[in-house]
Subunit: 258 residues, 5 copies
Amino acid sequence: MDLSTILGIVSAFVLMIVAISQGGGVLLFINIPSFIIVIGGTFGATLVHYPFKDVFGTLAIAKKTVIHQEELPQTRIEQLVRFAGKARKEGILSLQVVMNEVSDAFFLKGLQMAVDGQEPGALKEMLEREIEYIQERHEKGADILVAMGTYAPALGMIGTLIGLVQMLQTMNDPSTIGPAMAVALLTTFYGAVIANIVCMPMAGKLKNRSQSEVLDKTLVAEGLKSIIAGENPRIIEQKLHAFVAPKQRQSNFSKKKG
Amino acid sequence: MDLSTILGIVSAFVLMIVAISQGGGVLLFINIPSFIIVIGGTFGATLVHYPFKDVFGTLAIAKKTVIHQEELPQTRIEQLVRFAGKARKEGILSLQVVMNEVSDAFFLKGLQMAVDGQEPGALKEMLEREIEYIQERHEKGADILVAMGTYAPALGMIGTLIGLVQMLQTMNDPSTIGPAMAVALLTTFYGAVIANIVCMPMAGKLKNRSQSEVLDKTLVAEGLKSIIAGENPRIIEQKLHAFVAPKQRQSNFSKKKG
Amino acid sequence: MDLSTILGIVSAFVLMIVAISQGGGVLLFINIPSFIIVIGGTFGATLVHYPFKDVFGTLAIAKKTVIHQEELPQTRIEQLVRFAGKARKEGILSLQVVMNEVSDAFFLKGLQMAVDGQEPGALKEMLEREIEYIQERHEKGADILVAMGTYAPALGMIGTLIGLVQMLQTMNDPSTIGPAMAVALLTTFYGAVIANIVCMPMAGKLKNRSQSEVLDKTLVAEGLKSIIAGENPRIIEQKLHAFVAPKQRQSNFSKKKG
Amino acid sequence: MDLSTILGIVSAFVLMIVAISQGGGVLLFINIPSFIIVIGGTFGATLVHYPFKDVFGTLAIAKKTVIHQEELPQTRIEQLVRFAGKARKEGILSLQVVMNEVSDAFFLKGLQMAVDGQEPGALKEMLEREIEYIQERHEKGADILVAMGTYAPALGMIGTLIGLVQMLQTMNDPSTIGPAMAVALLTTFYGAVIANIVCMPMAGKLKNRSQSEVLDKTLVAEGLKSIIAGENPRIIEQKLHAFVAPKQRQSNFSKKKG
Amino acid sequence: MDLSTILGIVSAFVLMIVAISQGGGVLLFINIPSFIIVIGGTFGATLVHYPFKDVFGTLAIAKKTVIHQEELPQTRIEQLVRFAGKARKEGILSLQVVMNEVSDAFFLKGLQMAVDGQEPGALKEMLEREIEYIQERHEKGADILVAMGTYAPALGMIGTLIGLVQMLQTMNDPSTIGPAMAVALLTTFYGAVIANIVCMPMAGKLKNRSQSEVLDKTLVAEGLKSIIAGENPRIIEQKLHAFVAPKQRQSNFSKKKG
């Protein structure tokens, strides 16, 4: 559960609404046709850019910016080092038992391959390819949000141009110029808000998520390879610690060492 | 058949036309000379940038954003695993028979090479080089659309500058300023619409198509290499599944396994 | 001879001139001082950026966007496969005879090295390095045009700022504001035209030329390596076909094959 | 202690305040609601983009742009060459003694591994992976500042659009237009200042810091590998000098040499 | 001595001054406070971005855009081929004699290593790493100029915003609006000139210099490696010619060859 996504969006919108309501009515900033042209046009351009299933899939993925459970790297390392100790003492096949405490599908697949007697090199190659394709698929969600964040301001500008042309063609009464121009600017405003407060930051968070998921899976791939190769758990821990920040390096072993 | 391309463009244009007609006549937004300068100028700049045959080839390729048949990854994997089983039981030469059910030229070439007795390494190298060059050629279509999407707003701005200079030079009658400026802004409007609703999103879809085609061909290359190497179909399936999302992994084999 | 470059520039300019002449006199758009500040300033900035000989060399290279003879890939492949057959039947030294029908300096150098008895690996390495440096040199011309296409709009904006400051400082007579602003906008107009219709598209065409030249040289390097290695001409053809689009694959051999 | 960061920010702000106070009151440029909308909105967008702990961690990292102690490359090389001499004369285990004079955790870990009898290749691989991940973590701070420097001008523009719409909707009294527009422009001003004087340059300095830290760690990794391999200290010095500018190459050895 | 840098800057400034003086007084464009805010602010932001010594080092490096002596590639190749001949006839140690005619420190270091009996592979690896770090250091100067060229227009815009806010807050007398706005625009003008005529083009020239220096050093590294390996001078020449344009390939040997 990542509250920063919700808190960030809510606080930015609250600030804008407060600023708006201080300077006059909030109603001045609500214009349904302007809203439809920006949202609908952005959605249309995005559908030209990506197939249906990818666009609607993004809505599901966008949930991930709020709800997600993340395995902490130190927990994962601790788990891998424990499994390494078990495998060393009781043999690779003993890992069959620990598969119950693993819920991650990728880790399970790797353990299954280890138990099935795969070579360390072959296992690592297959897991690394899987990581590569996981990353590619995960970043598609971020890419779609970036595309929406690019089309939204463009559609905002198109909406403003429509409003300006209409205003300029029919400006008989000078008193209508101001309000007409105000309405014309609303689409630019909507486009900027959608892009800079919703789409672009959410795309950024999805990319961050993908990175930490790739780190987790890299730890698993690297750890399993070392486990199959029968390396010393202490050495495995040292290797895996290289992937994380010093303060996340909690050793399973006492620190007294020659 | 990809309806999202058509639906996206149509819905975006319908929204704009509705927004325009609500605020006055649609005719205000139709100006043939403005349209010619943006479209013609964009086309001219694109011809300077790319040779004739590439520019006109793009029109043919642009069809691909709507009409295309895509082999689903799971179908392709199922097919490759089936062929692997056949080749293992009846020998590589038995693949001659299955060539009738393959329509993809790339797959056929690979099968022919397999039947001709190519080495796994040589076959994979040749197919991978072919994939690389396929990708390069396919992305040229997307690049041309990106170029058009870059020149269109620039030509729109050039058209607006022409209109502004003319208006400013001859503004004796203040009542003509508004309409003259409205007409001057139309080229910017056309340029923004062409770029953001047509060219850029279509370029994006072509790049997506290229990606999924490359995935399909990579599965074929990887699968054929494993088939020639005489690998176990179950292992081949496991390898190929690494390329696709977990929900696309439908095993040919029963899932009961030690 | 590439007519698309000329046709593109001419058609874009004709369209602009027609649009301009419809809306008033073409003379309104001709202002020698404005033109000098954009062209001269762009040239000045380019001279700061690149040494003399590179800037003037670009003028020579720019010719290449119009006049150039390109070896079609299929012709080159046909030639290489023919040489491969000759070398296989009559020995590598027989290639001495065919050097008369080759005009490309790179191909000649490669043939000479082959006749001199170079190893396939050494020959390919040397030719590939040469390709790399050819590419680097060729893209310098494109880079200079991109630089000019970046400085031109900047100088256009600088010119407009000069005009605006002068107009704002001396606006006693309101009737002079319009024409003064029109003149100020001309430099922006010139900058946009130079960048988007001349420099950027021509830079793009030079890059395309470089790509197809690199493809040609890659075919030569790959083909010669295979010829020296004494590979079967049929296999060589198959290898080289991987570099080109399927419709450019015209086999030298009859297509009847098991 | 890096005074240039403080001096740069202070001097830029002093210049602006002087320029502002010359042209009127500084108070004209202080508008709390405008300030809140830019700062708060930027912070909100950044929280959507990055998780809490990363955003607040940046504040800690930003200190590094001012306070930091850097090991000079020449000092580090001198130290490594000295250790190499000791290890050569008295054996690798003698390095245990010198660990007291090393404070850098990365160097200590490397020395410990050397004393523990790691292979040169394995040690270098582990240290290089650690360098890679150190770099990734360090650049996250810079990335967050870049994100803030991107959102700040966008929020500035959003604030200005809000002000413009309010002004245009209610412009009954022409005398209020000027001040209202002045206030509307303040958010754009705040956004530009935050981005271009604070966020972007500080992100740049963090990237520079990361680079020089990576150089230091690369020297350590390269040096330790050579020490374990038992190379001649003179050769090690020559190797390490390749990483630094000629004027930083102070030899430990007399320069008289055949 | 590279006159194009000076000539480019001088001609661009002369053109601007002529254009300005034709349209009124040059004094209109001189405003010390505006100048100080752009120059001082740009310098401040650059100091936040880079440490003192790098910023002031850039001033020294900027000289290189004008004064520099460049070794022509063909001269360098001729020299290397000559040394190769000498080394082949009289042994590697005979290169000690020719070290007097070499002034480049990098070349000298390489020769010293050759005479000291380094392996070809080790020598090339060390020289290549040195080239890599030379390039990194050299491009820092260009990067700083690019940063200045990015901050200057931003500071120009900030200055203009300050001027606009002041003008809008106090526009009681309409006759002062024009001149006040003219002054406000001057900072944008200064920013654009500094960026597009000074900083960006000079950064480009520094990058060019770095490239040709890297080419020179690459020729030396490649040539020395071949000399130590005892290769035929004729083959060495052929190898080195691959790095340069055909018209720079002047053979040391007569061209009559089978």
